[in-house]
Amino acid sequence: MRDTVEFWLNGELVRVQNPDPTQTLLNYLRQTRALTGSKEGCAEGDCGACTLVIADPDARNDDGVWRALNACIAFLPTLDGKTVITVEGLAKNGQLHPVQQALVDYHGSQCGFCTPGFVMSLYAHYRNKGAVDDACLNDVLAGNLCRCTGYAPIIRAAKAMYDYPAIEEFELKPAPSQQTLALTMTDPISGAVKRYFAPRTLDALAQTYEQNPDAVIVAGSTDVGLWVSKGRKVLETLIDIGKVAGFADITPAADGLTINAGARYSDAHAAIADKWPSLSELVRRIGSTQIRNAGTIGGNIANGSPIGDMPPALIALGAELILRKGEVRRQIKLEDFFIAYGKQDRVAGEFVEAVFVPKPKPNQRFVTYKISKRFDQDISAVCAAFALILDGEKVQSIRIAYGGMAGIPARANKAEAILLGQSWNEENVRAAMAALADDFTPLSDMRASAQYRLQAAQNLLFKFWLDKSDAPYLAREQAHG
């Protein structure tokens, strides 16, 4: 066992003995290290002003080795073993990094407060040798808000960043230690004893959680981080799943894809894009690059949110969940996991081990839609997923699932029943749309009214019927308007 968090910070080995396990990386950098280049703009992972770059020697990552991360919601011990680069580390011998120089030359900063975050998001992209077309840059920067520039000069700079001469770069270093990390400390403010475990095997995770069923499991802390930063909760026991060997694996098999619960969105993106293009676009619109580099698909399911975007899509695909408690595993349909708002089919000490997604069936059309006030990096007002198999013009199989329409992500059973075995025509689709009003009684909140949610849910079904392609967004259907 080891009680010292060790990681590489701008090339230097950092050792922190028994820190508060929920201290954020941002607070550590700013308060302890006086590295104030990374800013706090929101403390909830939405603005990107705290963005820095990490690399994990053990990680798989479809989207590249260098990952932009929101330091404001990352707990310090979760950085153990990693290489961390902050904005202060980029310039070498007085020479700006190409990303920095381009932003200077193209007038990419005004007030400058968001700028370090933009620098670091672009830096990760630069190190990953990412493309600099508009679509790609929009995605890379979706998690960085700028209120001054209107983004245009930042994009001009990004497009020019490869034109500058390269400079000396930090390399990914091996983890300083392979020893298991475990922390215990007494919080001077609350008086609580805080413990942190980082099991390194799946069996150890199962055992630790069974013994500590009140523990909070964290991976990227994209949700749990806010319990601390915004909810001011004192979390006494944390289990970090980031070090569990093989827990981020994504295993393709003949009958489908098994995504282990520790797989981050960015780990899984390519595997998903390969089989379900529409789901790939939905994943792209979940959070931002920073969030997808931290958050896991398993976590998005396990936290039981009624507005997570993955569950409706996975429910429509017929996904199953593998749960584990101690040595005991069980497999359930994903839709059965969600019982009611805040309540899931999960007993104390039991955790989500993996989600199994059946492979696309021949002739299956699968489309997801997401409606939000802002196109990128927003939470759904309504998320819809449709999986349809036609036999001639008859509906052989249809699965319809929505997020944002109830206290849980759920299937539209009545609408499905109306369509099943019937002709896939406007009349039947309109009848199914009407049935959605019986399937769901949505709520009004700051994202949308109940009335809008219902109408949008209905119209999305209509849109799915209209759409002959799997194109998920406006203006792509003009061919058959």
Binding site: A91, H107, S109, Q110, F113, G150, R232, D376, M433, M446
Partner: protein, 778 residues
Amino acid sequence: MAKAKTIKNIGQGVGKDVRHDSAHKHVTGEAVYIDDMPLLPGLLHLQPGLSTHAHANIKALDLSAVRAATGVVCVLTHEDIPGVNDVSPTGSGDDPIFAVDKVVYAGQAIFAVAATSLAAARNAAALAKIDYEELPAVLTIADAKAQDADLEPAQLMVLGATKDALFTAEHQLKSSLRIGGQDHFYLESQAAQCVPGEDGDLTVYSSTQHPSEVQHLIAHMLDRDSHAVNVQIRRMGGGFGGKETQAALIAAMAALASAKTGRPARLVLDRDDDMVMTGKRHDFEIDYKVGFDSEGRLNGVMFDMASRCGSSMDLSAAINDRAMFHADNAYFLNNAQIVSRRLRTNTVSNTAFRGFGGPQGMMAIERVMDDIALHLGKDPLAVRRINLYGEKGRNQTPYGQFVRGNLAPQIIDQLAKDADYDQRRAAARAFNAKNRYIKKGIALTPVKFGISFTTTFLNQAGALVHVYADGSVHLNHGGTEMGQGLFTKVAQVVAHEFAIDLDQIKISATATDKVPNTSATAASAGTDLNGMAAQNAARTIKDRLIAFAAQEAECAQEDVIFADGEIRANDKKWSFAALVKAAYLARISLSSTGYYATPEIHYDRSIHDGWPFYYYAFGAALSEVEVDTLTGENRIVRVDIIHDVGRSLNPALDIGQIEGGFVQGAGWLTSEELVFDDQGVLRTHAPSTYKIPACSDRPPVFNVSLFEGENNVDSVHRSKAVGEPPLMLAISVFSAINDAVASVADYKHAPDLHAPATPESVLRAINNLPTNQSTPKS
């Protein structure tokens, strides 16, 4: 006045694309904002405790657990204030720092904890026990209208004889428009740090657009003279009007903690606290009646404006006045009656925001133009053109000023031509005829924005320039840097005067002990006022150098030439540093203040008549959008802008203001929605729920150019203000969405579309069209 000839365009002088002075520091993280300042020994961290009720008596306030919590050094309430418990900017006395026995909005500060760490302060603040007795709350504009909850008497502006004009007009219309508010969402939340000195003096670092006001209010709070308080700010992480008055509350709390404990104190608001505690752009409801002829020419218009001002006066009088001033935008109203009500509600007190009421006023008249066009079946641009201000008889505003130097017709013509308006409008209509569910919309709207504080006395500025014996220059002025590049532009002006490179000029933090009694950096007037003041200071020193050089060279002062870092006179030649050194040895003063007051302007608010604006800035934008009529989702496809900045001091910075202002305006009118619940609690108080434009929301095609033409206004190097006007170019986006929605009913009905045009707002407008042929009925 300097008599020497200065060769234009030296080094990095005026007119060049000089980089922001802090660009290098921004990208390396070295630029220091208040929360980045080193943690001083003994530093206290503050956390305010906020009201959870919109309107309630505080029956009991039990702070014992707060005081007893770990790390707490003191807890501040109104009882700790030795002087005046008020930070109202205009002396209205209705902005208490801490609530006394009643709260008037959810988010109002009741107390603040000062502790040895931020975590300790926040932990402690949550332990307060407050017993409220709820009172009836006035939350909406409708509530406030019904209860006559006016903050001041309704204001009236009249041009001609409106009622007759309406009744005799060939066509008449009436309708209404709701316009949502907007959070500033500066990336750096409100922040202040106070450091106590001897004699109880305080140095306050405040992220403020108005250091002088912060200084004076803190002095009043502490019952001290203003000379005991020095307020400084090197840079803000964004302001947009949100730190014009609102910064004072935060700075006052930090100062009070320092005054009470003798220790340095810092208050940096958590984002959510910032959004619930501090004011926003006013939301408006505007009813209008309009009469016009068959060409669409206005006979007259009546506007009934009402805005939600929140719990106190703040700057609402001037903001709502500006909504009236811009209810004409670029159009001659012929006959007009503009009524404006300023309503008190139990919500956070709304405040300045880029445009300062102007955008809301313009929204109304632009909506009128679209309504007229739809009513007559005309091209909205044709209706706009026919109503533009013109020659004598068609150039008087409703507030008496005549429109001079009107560039709107010229800019519109050029933009319509350059961006193929006619062709693209026809293409959009053809597209809509073929596509049932996706609709395109297009709109070209102008901007005419009055430049000057409409409160005339605020149009003054001061500067301080030192030239050191080595030829380096220290520059200071009353303007503040919030990202707009003011410091860079003013330094360019000074560099130009001395014909030296910019790197010889040290740009320094705004400080009330260097330049006193300054106005806020606001009203787009930062460069106009401070650039002139700094120019005057530099010219005073330059005149002394000229006199000295002429004497040394035994020539006339007119023959002394400043160029490219050199001064030439007769057969003599000095580097700037050498001349300065020689002047110093000859005992010539190398330091000067400078001062400027805008000429010509005057205004009598009691009758809303006068000449409030020194000049107008113009621009126009052509926006094209797509709307999904099944969901209401919409996006910008292309934007073309031509904007007038006079003779640009710095084209790169000016284009930055235009692009940024436009996107900020587009956010206001599309995705940014403030939602208060029925208890008056703001539900959209973080970026997770309040959606400012993200990278992909910028127009994918975004052509911005500066209008090229002469500027006859005697402004600093004949430049024009650029901070606010471009925001209103985004009205073209709203108008384009309106156009797309109107296509659903074949352009026969004016959509009932309200801002922001969220998917829900757009779908509602589509649902409400009388002949909606598009959406499936359910």
